[in-house]
């Protein structure tokens, strides 16, 4: 029985995904993908659109259910194959408890439009964790200062720029004190001049040794911030290397072709 408070294996991987398969109708989006994330690692997932990288991310925190494979988050099994090779999830409450350790940032922010910036950050700790508003307030304000939006705390999301919205979304996710942060193309919906502020916030997070998995098209970010880069294509994980080696000497011809096309 894993402990309720401490991860069962402190030194084990934060995320262990093995042989993940996922199909939408006749189309198999993930064809047996395996990936591990160690504590403090920042992994960038790159690849052409339709390669399955976003789906992989969404499978990790149960936004999509996997058809087959094994998912272990900080030593706690989220899903595993049964005798017939189909993935079976643990009980719903357990799924929610495990997935709560992963914060997520979306391409389209998904802020709650009827709540102010501060309320967006406070809502989950109050509703989900049952904390008192006063108890979470200092933490929420500190997070907003960290992402540089303390002066916008009483504004509604509709009044913010895309970059500001995404920084609020990051603060909102951090307010739940996750052990892992998942980013699903966090800058893809932003005007080019606004990506910098979001990437800076993410870099800051990486410097604090947050474990991060980032699906991105930002090669600069992958090169400079990620400790490891993973390349996906056609529902398969093609290559995984430390960032420097990945860009200096990509091993697989498909990786090389993709990197060439990005220049």
């Amino acid at each position: 029985m894993p402990s309720m408070t401490e991860p069962a294996t402190v030194n084990g991987p934060m995320i262990l995904a093995e042989g993940i398969r996922k199909r939408f109708g006749a189309h198999e989006v993930l064809k047996g993908v395996s990936l591990t994330l160690a504590k403090g690692e920042v992994v960038a997932v790159i690849g052409p659109s339709g390669s399955g990288k976003s789906t992989l991310l969404r499978c990790l925190n149960h936004l999509e259910t996997i058809d087959a494979g094994r998912l272990v988050i900080e030593g706690d099994v989220l899903a595993d194959n049964d005798a017939s090779g189909h993935a079976r999830y643990v009980a719903d409450a357990e799924v929610r408890r495990i997935c709560r350790r992963m914060g997520m940032v979306f391409q389209h922010f998904n802020l709650f439009p009827h709540l102010t910036v501060l309320q967006n950050v406070i809502e989950a700790p109050v509703t989900v964790k049952g904390l008192k508003r006063e108890a979470i307030l200092p933490k929420a304000e500190e997070l907003l200062r960290k992402v540089g939006l303390y002066d916008k705390r009483d504004a509604y999301p509709s009044r913010l720029s895309g970059g500001q919205k995404q920084r609020v979304a990051i603060a909102r996710a951090l307010a739940m004190e996750p052990d892992i942060m998942l980013f699903d193309e966090p800058t893809s919906a932003l005007d080019p001049e606004l990506t910098g502020e979001v990437l800076r916030t993410m870099r800051q997070l990486a410097d604090e040794h947050m474990t991060m998995l980032v699906v991105t098209h930002e090669m600069g970010f992958a090169r400079e911030v990620a400790s490891r880069v993973v390349f996906m294509d056609g529902g398969e994980l093609i290559e995984s290397q430390p960032a420097a080696a990945f860009f200096a000497s990509p091993q697989h011809p498909r990786t090389r072709a993709f990197l060439d096309s990005m220049l």
Binding site: N61, H62, L63, R96, C99, R100, M102, G103, M104, F106, H108, N110, L111, F112, P113, H114, L115, E123, A124, T127, V128, K129, Y156, P157, S158, R172, A173, M176
Partner: protein, 216 residues
């Protein structure tokens, strides 16, 4: 002028019946409609289809027929077979009928909320009911205000149907005086009463819309 003042009393009494029916119907039909809408969008196919059929039945037959059925025919229906007094019968008919219309408005409102809102809530650990209560429904309120304003104004006027159960609502009170005094003045005064009620409703909904517009 004196004549108008002399009929205000009985017309005001009629308005009381109208308003009583109006408020009780709203108080019952809104929660019932919400429950129906939530069942309708749920994964429970059988229940969802049953609600679908219920909505079809309630929207597909005249409210007057439903009113007459519940008052006159319900006592003879096997198993249910209860005889309701006139005013409670009217309330049951109106609440059941309006719940069907409200259910469709709520359903449309709930389904207009972006999937990303559910996902945003889910990754923060919200349960389905927490997502509904804290994230989805507060946003639905804003979107359904215009159609709800429509329906409630219709309800004010639909209340006049209860004359078929010989209940003395505003319109029936006016008609009684018209027939007694051979003048159409009571109709005009009654129209003034209805207009006043809808004016208050219109104003109320406009205020609500303005209040919910802050986050646009």
């Amino acid at each position: 002028m004196d004549y108008i003042l002399s009929i205000l009393g009985p017309l005001a009494e009629g308005s009381l019946v109208t308003l009583k029916l109006f408020f009780i119907t709203l108080a019952l039909a809104v929660p019932l409609g919400l429950a129906l809408a939530l069942i309708r969008i749920s994964r429970f196919t059988v229940a969802s289809q049953a609600v679908n059929g219920y909505i079809w039945l309630m929207r597909g037959t005249p409210l007057m027929l439903q009113l007459l059925f519940i008052y006159f025919a319900l006592p003879f229906v096997p198993v249910i077979g209860i005889r309701l007094p006139d005013f409670p019968a009217a309330i049951v008919a109106f609440a059941l009928n309006y719940a069907a219309y409200f259910a469709e408005i709520f359903r449309a409102g709930i389904q207009s909320i972006d999937r990303g809102q559910y996902e945003g809530a889910k990754v923060l650990g919200f349960s389905y009911s927490q997502t509904m209560r804290r994230i989805v429904l507060p946003q639905v309120v804003k979107r359904i205000l215009p159609p709800m304003s429509n329906e409630t104004i219709t309800l004010v006027k639909d209340t006049s149907l209860i004359y078929v159960l010989a209940l003395n609502d505003l319109l029936r009170a006016a008609r009684g005086i018209v027939q007694r005094d051979f003048t159409i003045t009571p109709f005009i005064v009654a129209a003034g009463f209805y207009l006043l009620m809808t004016l208050v409703l219109t104003w109320l909904f406009q205020r609500l819309e303005k209040r919910h517009a802050v986050y646009d």
